[in-house]
């Protein structure tokens, strides 16, 4: 029973990745720009010779396979995707796309995932506390503040933070993942330097998304507190702590987990803006530059990796959810 269910989920995952990868191939083709020509024009502007540019374009197109019929290109594309061979960057030739991505990925995962989980944790507990048995006075006053935070987009909050902490008070660096002078190595100095650079972007994400988590959790927690099992737990003399965690929070958490999986999907898109604002060397920045330069293979590669990450997270939630909620366990009896 479980094996059949798992097989279905994996097939679904494959279908999602395939569809997304196909769209990913077609969409940039609709853009009127020719990437090779763009690149060459850039070169000429910076002092190169203007002669024989048409021949050069043709030569490069041949090299990257851009002269072949669309269907052939599509076939080649799918084949290489399946082998994780993402090709070469046009803009940074001869850098391999996979290398560019692997260099950016740790920054994105380190910053965004950490910030998201942090915001999720703090926001969820905060929301639950605000709702708990009509809340204490202090937490009650927090609710409007939380609502304001929920309304702010995080790149905007990021700009404000940069202006205040980096530009005006100079407490943190303006941008980048680490100082230009730092030597990337696993030394205490470098790690501290990276941490110092990550605080502002992380703070902007955490602050801006705590509100959303807290509001959603508050609503769920109020609903859950009306359930019969909450009253019954109290009638059995269960301690407030036990009722809060094992009964209230535990049940109100279920929809939050679904939302978390969706949120991680949105992250990749939101990352572009945050990383852009802070000049952070992550996946979002890489994607932004690639789009600017019509660097098809990098776009393909980054989007493909993002799709894989989202689909993977969805599968993970599908697998985790039955552990959290026995009522949705496949095959009935658990």
């Amino acid at each position: 029973m479980f094996v059949v269910w798992l097989g279905q989920r994996l097939l679904l995952l494959l279908a999602v990745v395939f569809t997304a990868a196909s769209l990913n191939f077609l969409l940039p083709k609709l853009a009127p720009k020719n990437p090779v020509e763009t690149k060459l024009l850039q070169l000429t502007e910076s002092g190169g010779a203007l002669t024989d540019i048409k021949d050069l374009v043709r030569a490069y197109e041949e090299k990257f396979g851009l002269d072949k019929p669309l269907l052939t290109q599509y076939g080649n594309y799918l084949r290489s995707m399946a082998r994780f061979d993402l090709g070469y960057s046009i803009a940074h030739y001869p850098a391999r796309v996979i290398d560019l991505i692997l260099r950016a990925l740790p920054w994105t995962i380190g910053l965004l995932l950490t910030a998201t989980f942090l915001a999720f944790g703090i926001g969820t507990v905060l929301g639950a506390l605000i709702a708990w048995e009509r809340g204490s006075r202090i937490l009650g006053f927090l609710a409007p503040g939380v609502m304001v935070l929920a309304a702010l987009p995080y790149y905007l909050l990021g700009l404000v933070l940069v202006y205040l902490f980096a530009f005006t008070w100079r407490l943190f660096p303006l941008q980048g993942g680490f100082s230009i002078t730092a030597v990337p190595a696993l030394t205490a100095t470098f790690v501290l330097d990276v941490l110092r650079h990550s605080i502002l972007p992380a703070l902007s994400i955490v602050l801006a998304s705590i509100g959303t988590w807290a509001l959603a959790m508050r609503g769920m927690m109020i609903t859950v507190q009306g359930e019969d099992y909450m009253a019954y737990a109290q009638a059995n003399g269960l301690s407030a702590g036990r009722r809060f965690f094992s009964y209230g929070l535990r049940n109100a958490l279920l929809p939050q987990v679904t939302a978390l999986a969706l949120q991680i999907g949105h992250l990749a898109a939101g990352a572009v803006l945050v990383e852009r604002v802070f000049g952070y060397p992550g996946l979002g920045n890489l994607l932004f530059q690639a789009i600017e330069q019509s660097d098809y293979f990098v776009i393909y590669g980054v989007v493909f990796i993002i799709v894989l990450m989202i689909a993977g997270m969805m599968l993970l939630v599908d697998l985790l959810y039955p552990l959290l909620d026995p009522r949705v366990r496949p095959g009935g009896a658990g």
């Binding site: 099992y229 009253a231 019954y232 009638a235 059995n236 026995p326 009522r327």
Partner: protein
């Protein structure tokens, strides 16, 4: 038995301080309870009976509070007790068996874990093995197998969940058990099992019990003294036997009288049978329903085995469909409403297949067949005034030409069901359960239907309202010539109002005929079991025991698959069960 009281409530007054002014929920209530005594706290919704229990347990929610009086348990004063001290007494000294056992257990915890939490809350720290043994022992005491400990609540039936709650209640050997309508959501057979389990557990502990409820039949069979409450006040108190034989207060007498009894007065139709008709009003033609099966063919599960019966078109009739939960009675009702298409055979209304209709015919059918459901709380859209729920079908189905006419029709219907038409401008949450259920009937009435499908319309309402709604059903039949499919697990009410009865067991009709025949002298062992389980409003009437039930259950099993027992009057339904003679 010692004369020292276990619980002494004196001059209790509970007030809710609302913005509009204080509301007295309980005033001047005094009660005493000896160890081992079973007290029935009787009253309708809003009478303050549950509020008294909450005060004893220290669970009144602000703005409610004890304004005056004292509550002494085992000599200890509970009014003004520190909340932590009160919490420590819950379960260990005062245990609570909840009303909604369906939802009282945390859905994400295994049963064993829930029981473990209750024990741990009172300082009982056990090793894994010792806890497992303790849980298994508790489950055994309420007649559940030890394997239940590893199950989740959604995997258990309502009766099993209620037993789990009883197991938790007795886990610390409390001095007092408060059971708040512990069986109100259960069918009669399960109700008797659970109630007998609760009594046995309470007697084994020697603790006292307060049973809160409004069902006088259940009280007569379960308690030895009673206290009757109305509007926050104690109207009468005394030994159960004395109260049932000579109620001192007219309200008590009214409550006892309002309990329908099998063999008592019944309100069958006086209109003679029309004889054979070319086209009956409603006809099941070898109609059956099964779920599952299909492509991967793991075998379909029958919810209702094929059956044929019909309701006459020229005379209005009330046909009762009775059985336990899972007997297929609600499936039958939904098929008549056209909500559930038949898997085999067909259901015809005035000659037309109820699932095959389109356009105007379908609208006509929707108008002619109306429904009243069990739960009046979830039947209204909370966003709109209730009047809107009544008006939409009137305009949609073309019964009323405009809003003014619709309004007039609605107001007439409201008066018919004994409601003030001003209630139409309220929201559902502003109405009581009884008012909502009357509105449901009014809604059905405005459309002047020919058939009403009433699925447990009185199982969630108070005794006095139950009588009023049953009277209303009879009036619909006699004055408005509306036929009714009355679906219920309560045989006493079915007896009181119906003209014919179908007894369903596991999707098959086991017995059918006139209610006076079927209910007064049941022929099939299953019908006998249902009758035996009815709690009579008479403490002297026997309520059966597990040994008798086991014997009947064996008989029922042996009779499974037999053709139904047709009693006098069954011919009127033209009942046939195709396939039965083939399968066995």
């Amino acid at each position: 038995m010692s004369g020292v009281p276990l619980l002494e409530i004196a001059g209790l007054e509970v007030r809710y301080e609302l913005v509009a002014g204080p509301v007295l929920a309980v005033r001047d209530v005094s009660l005493t309870l000896r160890p081992g005594q079973r007290l029935g706290l009787v009253g309708e919704s809003g009478s303050g009976k549950t509020t008294v229990a909450l005060a004893v347990m220290g669970l009144l929610r602000p703005p409610g509070h004890v304004a005056a009086g004292s509550i002494r348990l085992d000599g200890q004063e509970l009014v003004g007790l520190h909340p932590a001290a009160h919490a420590a007494m819950r379960l260990s000294k005062v245990a609570y068996v909840p009303q909604g056992a369906m939802n009282s257990l945390n859905p994400v915890l295994r049963i064993g874990t829930s029981i473990g939490h209750a024990l741990a809350a009172h300082g009982i720290r056990l090793s894994r093995a010792a806890l497992d043994a303790k849980v298994a022992g508790l489950l055994d005491r309420v007649g559940l197998p030890g394997a239940v400990a590893a199950r989740y609540p959604h995997e258990l039936s309502g009766g099993m969940k209620q037993r789990v709650c009883i197991a938790i209640a007795i886990s610390l050997g409390p001095r007092l058990i408060i059971a708040d309508e512990p069986t109100s959501a259960l069918d009669v057979v399960t109700q008797r099992q659970v109630m007998q389990t609760l009594r046995a557990a309470q007697e084994a502990l020697g603790s006292a019990m307060i049973l809160i409820g409004h069902d006088m039949g259940l009280m007569a069979q379960s308690v030895d003294s009673m206290a009757v409450m109305r509007e926050g006040h104690l109207e009468e108190e005394g030994a159960a036997g004395a109260i049932f034989s000579r109620p001192a207060h007219p309200y008590t007498a009214e409550l006892i009288r309002s309990v329908p009894v099998v063999g008592g007065p019944s309100k069958g139709s006086k209109v003679p049978d029309p004889g054979t008709e070319a086209q009956p009003l409603l006809a099941f033609e070898a109609a059956g329903k099964s779920y599952g099966g299909g492509l991967f063919g793991r075998g379909a599960i029958p919810a209702l085995h094929p059956l044929s019966f019909s309701l006459p078109a020229t005379a209005a009739r009330i046909v009762a469909v009775v059985g336990q939960s899972g007997s297929g009675k609600t499936t039958l009702g939904n098929m008549a409403l056209g909500f559930t298409p038949a898997s085999t055979g067909s259901v015809r209304f005035a000659g037309q297949d109820v699932t095959g209709m389109r356009g105007a015919a379908r609208l006509g059918f929707r108008r002619a067949v109306q429904a009243v459901f069990q739960d009046p709380y979830s039947a209204f859209n909370p966003f709109y005034r209730v009047g809107r729920s009544l008006m939409v079908p009137l305009l949609q189905l073309g019964v009323a030409a405009d809003r003014a006419e619709a309004r007039a029709t609605m107001e007439i219907a409201c008066r018919h069901v004994g409601l003030d038409p001003a209630l139409l401008d309220r929201f559902a949450h502003e109405l009581s359960g009884g008012q909502r259920q009357r509105l449901m009937v009014a809604r059905a009435l405005t459309l002047r239907p020919r058939l009403l499908v009433a699925d447990e319309p009185v199982s969630m309402v108070d005794a006095s309202l139950r009588a009023a709604i049953l009277d209303l059903l009879v009036e619909l039949r006699d004055r408005h010539r509306i036929s009714i499919l009355y679906i219920t697990h309560d045989l006493a009410t079915a007896y009181a109002v119906s003209d014919s009865v179908l007894v369903l067991h596991r999707g098959r009709v086991v017995e059918a005929g006139d209610p006076a025949e079927v209910f007064v002298s049941p022929a099939h062992p299953y019908t006998r079991l249902l009758i035996d389980c009815l709690p009579w409003p008479d403490p002297e009437h026997p309520w059966g025991n597990p040994v008798e039930e086991a014997a009947l259950q064996r008989e029922i099993k042996d009779a499974e698959g037999d053709p139904p027992v047709l009693r006098p009057g069954a011919g009127r339904l033209a009942l046939q069960c195709p396939g039965l003679s083939i399968s066995r």
